[in-house]
Assembly symmetry: C2
Homo-oligomer: 150 residues x 2
DNA sequence: CAGTATTTAGTTGTATACAATTAAACATTG
DNA sequence: CAATGTTTAATTGTATACAACTAAATACTG
């Protein structure tokens, strides 16, 4: 009796519904989409918004530091930062003390954008209808998962 | 005393560390990367693997049905499915009963791939060092979040 | 100090994502 | 049944992601 059910366990692991990966993948994309209307009003993409959050906090960061914090490499960041430079939001210059590094800094326009953006997080939270406790718990678990994967 | 601390609340919401979105975004990409070595051995990308999981379960699905289940539109799926067709894994044909729809079916090679893939989920779980309870709890919360965003 | 190794961005090529538009097939309605 | 509206994929254009490679600068080492 039991043996006839055994193989089913393995098969079911291949079902989309039983995966951890798919809800994570889908939720990430949908959450990014939820930001869209607010970010579009600022002419920002979601990864650009992440870069801004770091620069608003740290003023100046090298491409390497941005890459470490965002877990993105130069293949992604260089073109992204060039687009942000074209929009006059950030400056890109070699570090005089180490010409290998490129320092990304905020322009006045980039600074000013913080004022417009400061309401984005709350606007998004309103969309969610989750308690701060729930959100905090989810963040904790995701951070834990992330640590496993690093 | 208290009033001088008030504004800090809003500012902190703009810090990367306090966001829900970033851990979600990063964990999703890192988990996808964790699949890489296993999927590379099958010459698969992660979204292609998701399509396969659905087709192994359902045998045949239209582009629209795949799009609903994966929350992806034809702009993403059409080129992805064309690449899968080129690799002889799936067939693409118009539905005779409704020429607007395109039915995606598995070829024998696509069927056969299931045998190779069936160990992927367990191999990935080994990487995680999370209890089934933890994983299940995370999936539940992500599914709940996903529902909020739909 | 010369030669080698490492670090850092940038470049190239491929594969998603997704908004906006197009085109064909089907459905609806007067 | 003709005109209009809707549905479904495909196409176009832009922006990530990321592996693999390149090039320049710096660090290291005998």
């Amino acid at each position: 009796m039991d043996s006839s059910l055994e193989p089913k366990v393995e098969i079911d692991l291949l079902k989309l519904d039983n995966q951890l990966c798919f809800p994570l993948y889908a939720a990430s994309r949908m959450l990014t989409k939820a930001y869209q209307p607010f970010l579009l009003a600022l002419d920002l993409t979601y990864p650009q918004y992440l870069v801004f959050m770091l620069l608003w906090e740290h003023e100046q960061l090298t491409v390497k530091e941005l890459g470490e914090k965002l877990m993105l490499d130069s293949g992604t960041l260089t073109p992204l930062l060039k687009r942000m430079e074209q929009k006059q939001w950030v400056s890109r210059r070699r570090d005089p003390d180490d010409e290998r590094s490129v320092i990304i800094g905020l322009t006045p326009a980039g600074q000013a954008l913080q004022t417009q953006a400061c309401r984005v997080p709350e606007q998004l939270l309103e969309k969610l209808d989750m308690s701060p406790t729930e959100i905090s718990a989810l963040r904790t678990q995701l951070t834990h998962l992330l640590a496993q994967l690093t």
